[in-house]
């Protein structure tokens, strides 16, 4: 039973549900308390011990249903325990196949699967291998020999045909079973591989079909960043006595200073203004940048977003009211795909929003600085740089291309506190992490 249980837990981990060792122990105790007879109660109780957010609960239910899908076989198994003894050999398999005893077959298959360790399957390329192993363990050679013999004698006729069909059926069953195991156990590893690839590949090169996956990764990164950075720590600045609070606190002690109060400072989360280029030249990445901005809105308390191509507008509202994809669509509809004009956009920003920039603000600009040979108005960027605490520029192009053609990166460069290439998710994550950390240290 314990083996089943650990397999179940590793399947859960594959589905992104974090299960700690302490929770494993709790879950086992819970399972012992509930017993294995009432499926629904067991599900409810385990869900409480293992899945601790609504999303995790949904994932849990899915895995639970998939994992314990063989319920009906288990029931029959209890009744048969007495007749069953030890290994199944070819002869048994033959009789079972001929008799068409599906329940017996199913559970011979499970025995064989445990014997060859199907739960170790990780990659889809291993499907064939494990299918063969399970079949062998079940003693399929005996059956094959029998089929051969029947064919050889030429008396196979309908009996041989039936046996061949049964064998094919058995093969199907075993392969299905192995695939199911793969989807449970292999999910974790292949998921990791895929995520790793996506994280490292250029945002612009990603396929449309990876979008959903991407969204999940972005969400995951952001969730982790939230967990890391949402704490607002109070820093005790030891050494500086807060006289007022000390006196107040010690009134009750007749003015005798029993307890001292030290001055405290709260560390605040940064104020961020994010400006995102959504023009044609960066169209392939714009969507992900917007996606990321959207998640940032959840992460940072005080953030305003702007999007521009030919001109600039504020888009914070869209991010607040819509879900990620819709928000990105709306923004793209409004200002997307036009020829870029950095000069005009900076002018817009300066006119309408520069007044809101103060020395606690961090400005992040996402864009390639390709301005179609219009006046880049670098002096406006300088003005922004002087007013804000930090100006961060994230450029999707690799550094050798900066300043080539109509790229104005070289002219903007002096006014950026931080200029980074940013075209994979890993880059994005690093930058945001950086941003949050320095913001905390500097505050």
């Amino acid at each position: 039973m314990e083996r089943t249980f650990t397999n179940f837990l590793s399947a859960l981990r594959g589905a992104d549900i974090r299960v700690s060792v302490a929770e494993t122990l709790d879950a086992m105790e819970t399972a012992r308390l509930m017993g294995w007879s009432d499926r629904q109660s067991l599900h409810d109780a385990l869900a409480m011990a293992l899945a601790k957010t609504p999303e995790e609960k949904t994932g849990f239910t899915r895995i639970f249903d998939e994992f314990f899908a063989f319920e009906s076989f288990h029931d029959r198994r209890d009744g048969q325990e007495t007749e069953e003894n030890g290994q199944t050999d070819g002869g048994d398999l033959l009789t079972m196949l001929e008799a068409g005893d599906r329940a017996a077959l199913a559970f011979a298959m499970q025995d064989a699967a445990v014997e060859v360790g199907v739960e170790n399957i990780r990659f889809f390329t291993q499907r064939g291998l494990y299918t063969q192993r399970v079949l062998q363990q079940m003693g399929v050679e005996g059956v094959d020999a029998q089929i051969q013999a029947m064919g050889g004698q030429g008396v196979g006729g309908s009996a041989g045909q039936a046996l061949r069909e049964s064998r094919a059926w058995l093969f199907e069953q075993v392969r299905n079973y192995v695939e199911q195991q793969l989807s449970l156990q292999g999910a974790a590893t292949s998921q990791e591989l895929r995520e790793d690839r996506l994280r490292r590949s250029r945002l612009g090169n990603l396929d449309r079909r990876d979008r959903e996956q991407m969204r999940r990764i972005v969400e995951k990164i952001c969730r982790r960043l939230v967990a890391l950075h949402s704490r607002r720590r109070k820093m005790k600045n030891r050494g500086q006595l807060d006289i007022r609070r000390t006196m107040r606190r010690n009134y009750g002690n007749d003015g005798v200073l029993f307890e001292l109060e030290w001055k405290k400072r709260k560390l605040d989360r940064p104020r961020v203004m994010a400006i995102c280029d959504v023009s044609g030249s960066v169209a392939s990445v714009a969507r992900f940048l917007l996606q990321f901005l959207y998640e940032l809105h959840e992460l940072l308390h005080d953030i305003r977003s702007f999007a521009f191509s030919g001109y600039l507008i504020e888009v914070s509202e869209h991010f607040k009211d819509n879900i990620a994809d819709e928000a990105a669509d709306k923004v793209m509809q409004k200002v997307g795909y036009m020829p870029t004009d950095y000069g005009e956009s900076l002018t817009n920003f300066r006119e309408s929003f520069l007044a809101d920039v103060d020395r606690n603000t961090t400005i992040i600009i996402l864009g390639d600085a390709r301005s179609n040979n219009t006046d880049p108005k670098a002096e406006y960027l300088k003005e922004m740089h002087e007013r804000c605490k930090r100006l961060i520029w994230l450029n999707p192009e690799p550094p050798p291309l900066w300043g080539t053609g109509d790229s104005e990166m070289r002219r903007y460069r002096p006014y950026c506190d931080l200029l980074r290439e940013c075209n994979t998710l890993n880059h994005l994550e690093r930058v945001v992490n950086d941003l949050l950390e320095t913001a905390q240290r500097a505050a």
């Binding site: 409810d44 109780a45 409480m48 609960k57 939230v226 967990a227 002690n253 005798v256 029993f258």
Partner: protein, 318 residues
């Protein structure tokens, strides 16, 4: 847990029935949670939207198990002194002053410093005793001889520091008091923590708790709840009202009507002698379960449709 209490928790069905007798209708998940928590002695973290009866769950548990309920309301800035205990320096000081003469008597005939010390030591713990300890909810819950139900309400409103401080209590059921040492619970309290999800709780806290998510009830459950709370409600009104409220929860509102609000609404309609929903009466009483002007407007727009739908659902049943 005493044998009687364990007997009350002997099966999930029994828990459900027992709670129903006390007027709390719980879903299967909730009953399972109480059953498991009672047997394993683990705290339960209850999450869910406001007004689905999270706090009430603790109240009912206290009544059902016949234990005192000790409640700690969390808020920003809550600290140990208000949650756990406070040391009464002033009282200690005052006692020392008053008892100065008595000290003289105690030490009266003692010769030399060493002997005086020894005599004083015989009374040493007098000034560091529990007399000077003002227990706050957490300590009270631990020291309750027969056990208790401890409700840590709206734990998401507290600071991170406080959350970390709770960890020792939740896993070991003990606290460390610098002046006295470690105090361990004689009998483990049944602990409920409620959260409205205004912020994510830390993994460390979640790990130590069973997690129960209480969503808005579905229609049959909500009907049962209303029936239990207001037994005299006419059947038609009950069906239509629940159907209406369920429809309202489908809308995008600032704040969805909670269970307690639909109970209130049912009371109001009963007071107005309504046997059935009708659009005008609904309009006049919308403010009972909707608390934002925008929400009232958006429901008002759907009012006739919803009322018709509610009657239809009721008619289909009949």
């Amino acid at each position: 847990m005493t044998p009687e209490q364990l007997e009350k928790l002997e099966s999930i069905e029994r828990v459900r029935e027992g709670y129903a007798d006390l007027g709390y209708i719980c879903s299967r998940q909730i009953a399972t949670a109480i059953y498991v928590a009672g047997h394993l002695g683990k705290p339960v973290l209850v999450e869910g939207p406001a007004g689905v009866g999270k706090t009430e769950l603790a109240n009912t548990t206290a009544a059902y198990l016949d234990l005192p309920l000790i409640r700690l309301q969390c808020y920003e800035g809550l600290d140990e002194a208000k949650a756990l205990y406070e040391w009464r320096y002033a009282k200690q000081l005052l006692y020392t002053q008053i008892l100065r003469d008595k000290l003289g008597e105690v030490l009266g005939e003692a010769q030399g410093l060493k002997e005086s010390m020894d005599r004083l030591h015989a009374h040493a713990d007098v000034f560091f005793s529990e007399r000077f300890l003002a227990p706050r909810p957490l300590l009270k819950a631990l020291r309750e001889p027969g056990g208790a139900v401890l409700l840590i309400d709206e734990v998401d409103k507290s600071d991170h520091e406080f959350e970390a401080f709770l960890l020792e209590i939740l896993s070991e059921f003990q606290v460390s008091i610098p002046e006295l040492g470690t105090i361990k619970a004689g009998r483990r309290p049944v602990v409920f923590l409620t959260s409205n999800n205004t912020r994510e709780m830390s993994d460390a806290l979640k790990r130590r708790c069973l997690h129960l998510y209480v969503p808005f009830p579905d229609a049959p459950l909500e009907r049962e709840i209303i029936q239990a709370r207001i037994p005299e409600i006419p059947r038609h009104l009950k069906y239509q009202l629940v159907s209406f409220v369920q429809q309202v929860r489908e809308l995008d509102l600032k704040k969805h009507p909670s269970v307690s609000e639909s109970i209130d609404w049912a009371r109001v309609l009963l007071l107005l002698h309504a046997d059935e929903l009708d659009a005008d009466m609904v309009r006049q009483t919308l403010n009972v379960f909707l608390k934002f002007e925008e929400d009232i407007q958006s429901v008002d727009a759907e009012l006739y449709g919803f009322t018709r739908q509610a009657k239809k659902a009721d008619g289909a049943r009949a």
